[in-house]
C-alpha cells in the first residue's frame, strides 16, 4: 500500500468517522449530520439545511421506509453520521442503515431481562454517539456501548435494577468523555437519578439523586419514608451548555401520582429542571415547575437552550413548554425565573409569586369524585420534542387543549373527551373540538405571545423540527406527516403515513441531497425532493 493511500485512509477515518465531542458541540457546522437526539446539545431540533424550501416542499417524495420488527410505538429519533443512519427498533435492537437507500448494514439484537418493564410502552427514543461508539440505555436499565461499524457490544453496565421498576427509555447525552442518562419508573415507585459513565469503560463517574436523601437539602420536602419511592424519574434527554459546563435535565412526577396525602411538601426535585455540573454531577441550581404535583405533570420535556436579546441585554436562556400547561423562560446560568405563561387553557394556577412559584387555585386537587383540571393528566404537551428556530426566533410546541377530572388514588380519573395514550396504529377520531384537540403552536419566547397555530382534529404525540428555510415538520395521532411555513403556520405539504406519528422528525443530507425522516406506526419514513 503506498503512502498516499494510507494518508487518504487516515484522513478519511479522522475526518468522516470519528465523532469527537468537539464535533458534537459544533454539530451545527455539519448540518448533513444529526449527532444527538435533538440535533445538537442545545435541544433546539433545528436543522441548518435549506434545500427543501416552502416553495419546493410540495415536491417531496418518499425515498425509503424501514419497517421495524416491533409492534411498539416507534419513538426514536435516528442519528445520522456521514451517510449512516442509526436507530432503535423498540425496545432495544439497534440498526445501522444506509441513509440513502435504507438498506441494512447491521442489526444488534438485545434481549432485555425478563423483569424489564416500563409504565407506558416498551419504547426507546434513541442513541448517543462518541468516537465510533454508540450508546443505548435499555428497558432493563442497562447502558450498552456498541461498535458503530459492526454493532458488536463493547461494554454493558447495569445502571439500576429492573426488578425495582427502573427502566431507561430516552437517548443518552454525551458530554466530553461521559455518557449521561437517568432512569424512568416514576409511576412505579422508583427514586430517580441522573448518572454519568465513562464513555470508554462504562465506569460510573457520578450519580445525582433527584430526590435528596437524609441530611441533604430538600429532604425535608418529603414525609417519613415517602422519598424512597417518590419518583422524579428521568425519561427524556437533557441539554448541555458548554460555557457554564451545565447539563440540564427535566424530572418526572412525584409518586404516588394522584395522591399526595402521604407526601406533604414540595417533593423536591420532582417536576423540576436540574442544572448539574457535567464533570461532577453537583447541583448548581434547580427550578420546580409544579411543587407538590398531584396531577402527574412530568417535567420530562427537552430543555431548549437559546441565546437571545432579553430586555435589551443578551441573555442565555432556557425555553420550556411544560406538561402543566405553562411556558417558561429561565436564565440558564443562574436559574432565575424570567417569566411563565399559560400556552393552553390552565385552571390549576392563577399566576406566579415574585420568585416564580405558581399560585394554586384552591380546590384544583384530586378528590374521590374527581375534579376538573386543565390541562388534563396527559398534559398540555408531553415528552415529544419542541423546536426553536434561531432564524424566526419562535418557539414551536405540539400542544393539547382538553380537560379531564383527576381523582385520588383509588378514585377514577376520567377524561371528558376521547384523549387516549399514543399507540402505533391508527384509530378513528370521533371527538369534537370541545372535547380536545391537538395543535402546533408558535410562540414569541420574549413575550409568550402566540404567533400562530396549526390546529389538528385529533391530539398529537409528535415532535417538531424546524429548518433554515423556515419550514416546520410535525405530525400527529391521525398519521399525517406535514410541513408548515414556520413563519405563518400555513400548510404546505402533507403525507398520510398510515400509523400514528410518535416521534420527533429530523433532517440530514448525503451527497448534497437533503432528507427529512420521521417515524410513524412501526416504520421510519424518509422523504426528499423528487
Amino acid at each position: 500500500m503506498n503512502g498516499r493511500w494510507l494518508l487518504f485512509l487516515a484522513a478519511g477515518s479522522l475526518l468522516s468517522q470519528d465523532v469527537t465531542f468537539d464535533r458534537i458541540l459544533h454539530a451545527r457546522d455539519e448540518p448533513q449530520n444529526w449527532l444527538t437526539y435533538s440535533g445538537t446539545v442545545l435541544g433546539q431540533r433545528y436543522s441548518p439545511l435549506a434545500q427543501i424550501t416552502p416553495a419546493n416542499v410540495k415536491n417531496l417524495e418518499l425515498q425509503w421506509v424501514f419497517q421495524a420488527r416491533s409492534l411498539e410505538k416507534f419513538e426514536a429519533t435516528p442519528l445520522v453520521v456521514d451517510g449512516v443512519l442509526y436507530t432503535v427498533q423498540a425496545p432495544n435492537d439497534v440498526v445501522a442503515l444506509d441513509a440513502v437507500t435504507g438498506r441494512i448494514f447491521w442489526t444488534y439484537p438485545y434481549n432485555n431481562a425478563r423483569e424489564a418493564h416500563a409504565c407506558c410502552g416498551n419504547v426507546n427514543r434513541g442513541l448517543a454517539i462518541l468516537g465510533d461508539t454508540l450508546y443505548m440505555g435499555t428497558l432493563d436499565a442497562h447502558l450498552i456501548a456498541l461498535d458503530a461499524k459492526t454493532g458488536r457490544p463493547i461494554w454493558n453496565v447495569k445502571v439500576a435494577n429492573a426488578s425495582e421498576n427502573y427502566s431507561i427509555t430516552h437517548a443518552p447525552l454525551v458530554v466530553k468523555d461521559k455518557v449521561i442518562l437517568g432512569a424512568a419508573g416514576g409511576d412505579l415507585g422508583i427514586r430517580g437519578f441522573v448518572a454519568a459513565f465513562d464513555a470508554a469503560t462504562g465506569k460510573e463517574i457520578w450519580r445525582f439523586h433527584t430526590i435528596p436523601g437524609p441530611g441533604e437539602p430538600g429532604h425535608e420536602t418529603w414525609k417519613d419514608e415517602s422519598w424512597k419511592k417518590g419518583g422524579a424519574s428521568i425519561w427524556n434527554t437533557g441539554s448541555y451548555d458548554a460555557e457554564t459546563n451545565l447539563t440540564f435535565w427535566g424530572t418526572g412526577n412525584p409518586q404516588p401520582d394522584w395522591d399526595g396525602r402521604n407526601r406533604p411538601g414540595d417533593n423536591l426535585y420532582s417536576d423540576s429542571v436540574l442544572a448539574l455540573d457535567a464533570d461532577t454531577g453537583k447541583l448548581k441550581w434547580f427550578y420546580q415547575f409544579t411543587p407538590h404535583d398531584e396531577v402527574d405533570y412530568d417535567s420530562t420535556q427537552v430543555a431548549v437552550l437559546a441565546d437571545m436579546e432579553w430586555k435589551g441585554q443578551p441573555r442565555k436562556v432556557m425555553l420550556w413548554a411544560n406538561r402543566n400547561g405553562l411556558m417558561y423562560v429561565l436564565d440558564r446560568v443562574t436559574g432565575q425565573f424570567l417569566f411563565g405563561k399559560p400556552f393552553v387553557d390552565v385552571n390549576w394556577m392563577s399566576g406566579f409569586d415574585e420568585k416564580g412559584r405558581p399560585m394554586r387555585v384552591p380546590g384544583k386537587v384530586p378528590t374521590p369524585e374527581g375534579s376538573l383540571v386543565k390541562p388534563t393528566v396527559l398534559g398540555a404537551t408531553n415528552w415529544y420534542p419542541p423546536s426553536y428556530s434561531p432564524r424566526t426566533g419562535l418557539f414551536y410546541v405540539s400542544s393539547w387543549e382538553n380537560t379531564g377530572t383527576i381523582a385520588t388514588e383509588g378514585g377514577r380519573p376520567k377524561g371528558t373527551g376521547n384523549t387516549p395514550m399514543a399507540a402505533a396504529t391508527l384509530g378513528t377520531n370521533l371527538k369534537t373540538e370541545e372535547e380536545g384537540y391537538g395543535a402546533v403552536r408558535a410562540f414569541d419566547p420574549k413575550t409568550g405571545e402566540r404567533k400562530w397555530e396549526f390546529k389538528m382534529n385529533d391530539i398529537t404525540w409528535a415532535g417538531v423540527l424546524t429548518t433554515a428555510s423556515d419550514l416546520l415538520f410535525s405530525g400527529g395521532r391521525e398519521g399525517y406527516f406535514f410541513a408548515l411555513n414556520a413563519r405563518s403556520g400555513e400548510l404546505l405539504w402533507k403525507a398520510a403515513l398510515g400509523g400514528q406519528v410518535n416521534s420527533g422528525p429530523m433532517s440530514y443530507s448525503v451527497n448534497g441531497k437533503q432528507y427529512v425522516a420521521v417515524c410513524a406506526g412501526n416504520a421510519l419514513f424518509t422523504f426528499a425532493l423528487r
Binding site: 369524585e369 376521547n418 378513528t428 377520531n429 370521533l430 369534537t432 389538528m456 382534529n457 399525517y480
Partner: protein, 253 residues
C-alpha cells in the same frame, strides 16, 4: 338536560340503595359499563343466569356486606368458575355499586309485556328500524340492537325508551357536510381528521370527503332518539321492552 337526567339517576340511586356506603350515579354508571363488558357473559344482563345468584333480587351465595361483594368481584371465588377480575382494582367499587343497584326496588314502572306484540310495535308504530338494525333488517345509523337483550337489563331498556335521550356515544354521532357545490350529505360519523371526513351516509354508502372540497362540516352530538313516553301506550311500551329483552342474537355470527 343532561344534568337533570344525572340528577334523576342520582336520586334513584340514592333513595333506592340501602347503602352501607354511598354510591353515586357516576359509580353506578361506571360499574354498569364494566359489568356489561366483564360480568354479563356469565351472569346475564339481569344477573340471574348463575344458579343460586340473582342480582336483580339481591340474592347471593355468600356475600353479605359491600366489602364481601367487592372482594368477590376482584378476587373471584377459588374452586368455582367465578374468576378474579381483569379490570383495575379501583373499578371494584363501582361494579359493586352497580350490582347493588340492580336490586334497588321501584325502578321498573312498566308491567310485563308480550314480545310478539312488541315486535309489531318495534317494526310498525315505533319506527325503530328507521334508525336501528336487528339482524339484517333496519338502518345502520343508530346502535345495532340484534343482541341488545343480552347487553342491557329490562330496566335500562325501559329508561332508554322513556327518558329524553342522552348524548350518543361518539361512535353514533351524526355528521353533516355541505360540499362547495352545495350538495348536502348526512350520516353516521366514522372518522374526522384534520384533512378529511368519513361517514356512512343516510343512503348507507361509505363516503369520504376532503375538507378542501367542503363548505361546511358539523358534528351533531345530540341524539336522534325520541322519548316514547307520550307516543306509545303503557302496554305498547311494555311489549316493546319485552321484545327487546328477548333480542339475544340471531345466530348469524
Amino acid at each position: 338536560m343532561k344534568n337533570l337526567v344525572s340528577a334523576c339517576v342520582l336520586l334513584l340511586a340514592a333513595s333506592a340503595l340501602k347503602a352501607q356506603h354511598s354510591y353515586t350515579a357516576a359509580d353506578v354508571e361506571d360499574g354498569a359499563r364494566v359489568y356489561q363488558a366483564n360480568c354479563s357473559v356469565c351472569h346475564g344482563p339481569e344477573g340471574d343466569l348463575v344458579t343460586g345468584v340473582n342480582f336483580s333480587r339481591g340474592q347471593f351465595l355468600s356475600v353479605m356486606s359491600d366489602e364481601d361483594l367487592q372482594r368477590v368481584i376482584l378476587k373471584g371465588i377459588p374452586g368455582t368458575p367465578m374468576p378474579a377480575a381483569t379490570f383495575p382494582e379501583f373499578m371494584g367499587f363501582p361494579v359493586m355499586a352497580y350490582v347493588r343497584s340492580m336490586s334497588a326496588p321501584g325502578q321498573r314502572t312498566l308491567p310485563d309485556g308480550d314480545p310478539a306484540r312488541g315486535k309489531l310495535v318495534f317494526e310498525g308504530k315505533g319506527e325503530c328500524l328507521s334508525c336501528h338494525r336487528v339482524g339484517r333488517d333496519g338502518s345502520r345509523m343508530g346502535p345495532d340492537l340484534t343482541d341488545i337483550g343480552g347487553l342491557r337489563r329490562g330496566v335500562q331498556l325501559e329508561r332508554a325508551l322513556l327518558d329524553a335521550a342522552r348524548a350518543p356515544s361518539p361512535e353514533y354521532r351524526s355528521v353533516r357536510v355541505v360540499t362547495k357545490d352545495g350538495k348536502e350529505y348526512k350520516g353516521r360519523l366514522l372518522n374526522l381528521d384534520t384533512f378529511t371526513v368519513q361517514m356512512l351516509d343516510s343512503g348507507e354508502r361509505l363516503r369520504s370527503f376532503s375538507k378542501t372540497d367542503l363548505r361546511e362540516v358539523s358534528v351533531i352530538t345530540t341524539s336522534g332518539m325520541p322519548s316514547y313516553k307520550d307516543k306509545l301506550s303503557t302496554q305498547e311500551l311494555a311489549d316493546l321492552v319485552s321484545y327487546m329483552a328477548a333480542l339475544k342474537g340471531t345466530g348469524t355470527k
